[in-house]
């Protein structure tokens, strides 16, 4: 009997009614089926030389900002760049539209950053309104008012700042009021606006007069991501005026660079002139136009 049973069992595979395997394809792909307890058979290749998980490749990190090869970059003289920018800005109010200078530095990503104030020979902005924090009813208060501050005081000024009444765009603090300023907790309001007085920005001072004079017509610049950006002129400026402003800025910047500790690299890389609506032109340090027909005097007509 046993032999017959064995025989039937082997024949059952060929029966028509019950196929040994389902003919319809499974609804779900094989790899998604719940895993059964079939142990994985592993054929060892010996010595652990099979597929080993390698640690992910480390991305190369650079300590300095990228410095490009400038050879594919066309560079322009100041008058040429101005000619193009004046064409881009034609018909725009010349006092509103500005020339901007972008100075790329060769520098470390970490370490000291350049930050300073400059009085340009031809000021670009003329709407500086200064607020002064100094002890109330002191001779300092009258001095500040005489210097043209739009808001003077201590507790009264703090109160108006808390209420959102900020009529100034520059704020300085006398050293006598430094503690009061600290207690007032105004960092949340003044910090984001860049108005918080601090020793670092030289806006906490003992000499109000010199600081106010320095602030009027002074522009702040700082290095961000290895580039110093500053508005250096109005569209109505002549090439000579713009050149004077650029020279003043670059010489001060070079002095700033020299002050930086020698253990950090810091050097000028590229100077780019652009305008509010215009493209950026890499400058080659020349003044006169390469085109003989265009003289500096030609670039000072009414815009």
């Amino acid at each position: 009997m046993a032999s017959l049973n064995r025989c039937l069992a082997s024949l059952a595979r060929f029966s028509l009614t019950t196929p040994a395997r389902p003919t319809t394809a499974p609804l779900i792909p094989k790899f998604l089926l719940p895993t059964t307890t079939v142990p994985l058979v592993r054929y060892a290749s010996g010595g652990g030389g099979g597929m080993r998980k390698r640690p992910p490749k480390k991305k190369k990190t650079y300590k300095t900002f990228r410095s490009y090869d400038l050879s594919p970059m066309e560079q322009f003289s100041l008058c040429d760049a101005m000619r193009y920018l004046r064409a881009f800005e034609v018909g725009r109010p010349p006092a509103v539209v500005k020339y901007e200078l972008h100075i790329k530095l060769k520098t470390h990503k970490s370490g000291p950053v350049i930050r300073n104030r400059i009085r340009l020979p031809f000021p670009v902005k003329t709407d500086t309104r200064i607020g002064v924090i100094c002890p109330e009813d002191s001779p300092l208060m009258t001095e500040a008012q005489q210097l043209g501050a739009v808001a003077v005081g201590e507790e009264s000024l703090f109160e108006s700042i808390r209420q959102g009444n900020i009529p100034f765009n520059k704020l300085i603090c006398h050293e006598d009021s430094q503690d009061a300023l600290k207690k007032a907790n105004l960092g949340k309001i003044l910090g984001p606006r860049g108005l918080m007085p601090s020793q670092k920005t030289k806006t906490i001072t003992t000499d109000l007069k010199s600081t106010v004079q320095e602030l009027i017509g002074a522009d702040e610049y700082r290095e961000r991501s290895g580039v110093v950006r500053l508005a250096v002129g109005q569209m109505g400026f002549t090439p000579q005026m713009l050149s004077d402003n650029i020279k003043a800025l670059l010489s001060l910047l070079k002095a700033d660079i020299n002050e930086v500790d020698d253990s950090y690299t810091k050097a000028l890389d590229e100077v780019v002139l652009s305008s509010t609506n215009g493209p950026g032109f890499s400058l080659n340090g020349m003044f006169k136009s390469d085109d003989e027909g265009v003289k500096p005097e030609d670039l000072q007509s009414v815009m």
Binding site: I28, Y84, R86, A87, A95, K104, S282
Partner: protein, 200 residues
């Protein structure tokens, strides 16, 4: 700062300031140009705006000495005129004839012609920029600039780059779509498997 190559490619587009409609040299006797129109396009101010945006920069590039002043106002019902000032033959102009600078608030009205100057106005309202510019070229006597061989080569280079860009864009679009489709299929299979598991 943006990489050098990308910036350099942007600057090759300067070829379209040196060439194109508006790249023309004005005759010696044109002393100044004034445009007056409104900020927005309703009320027939499309044409003037386009002349200012597309033709004036080229004209300014080739004629840097000539003041070109644009007065934009917020009065959409106001006029749209272009004034060309000519020096009368033989006349010498005072160098300090008053000329207001461009304004976005409608404060720089077209000045009256100085002694020894005549003015020619073009009405730009409700007209297409091409028609306005053609009339300007005819009336001012400007001579169009001929494209230099270097610029022609540059234009060809830009066109080639754009053609390659179109091909590449299509290729990347297909790639992205394939990746997206595969992702979608796997997500669908996952959800179906979960449904089956739940049913069991």
């Amino acid at each position: 700062m943006v990489g050098v190559l990308r910036r350099a490619n942007r600057l090759t587009e300067l070829v379209w300031i040196r060439n194109g409609p508006g790249a023309a040299i004005l005759p010696q006797d044109v002393t100044r140009i004034h445009m007056d129109f409104a900020h927005k396009f309703n009320g027939g101010h499309v044409g003037p705006r386009k002349v200012w945006r597309h033709n004036m920069p080229r004209l300014k590039y080739w004629n840097p000495t000539i003041p070109m002043v644009v007065n934009r106002s917020h009065n959409q019902d106001g006029p749209a005129t272009l004034s060309i000032y000519f020096r009368e033959p033989g006349a010498t102009l005072a160098s300090d004839s008053p000329m207001p600078s461009s304004s976005a608030d409608g404060f720089s009205k077209a000045p009256a012609p100085a002694a020894g100057e005549r003015v020619l106005t073009i009405d730009m309202k409700d007209r297409r920029s091409e028609a306005i510019f053609k009339e300007f070229m005819d009336k001012s006597g400007a001579v169009p600039i001929k494209t230099s061989p270097q610029d022609e080569a540059l234009i060809r280079e830009i066109e080639d780059r754009k053609a390659i860009g179109t091909i590449d864009r299509e290729r990347v679009r297909k790639q992205n779509e394939a990746a997206k489709r595969e992702k979608q299929m796997i997500a669908q299979a996952h959800s179906e498997a979960a449904a089956i598991k739940a049913a069991l």
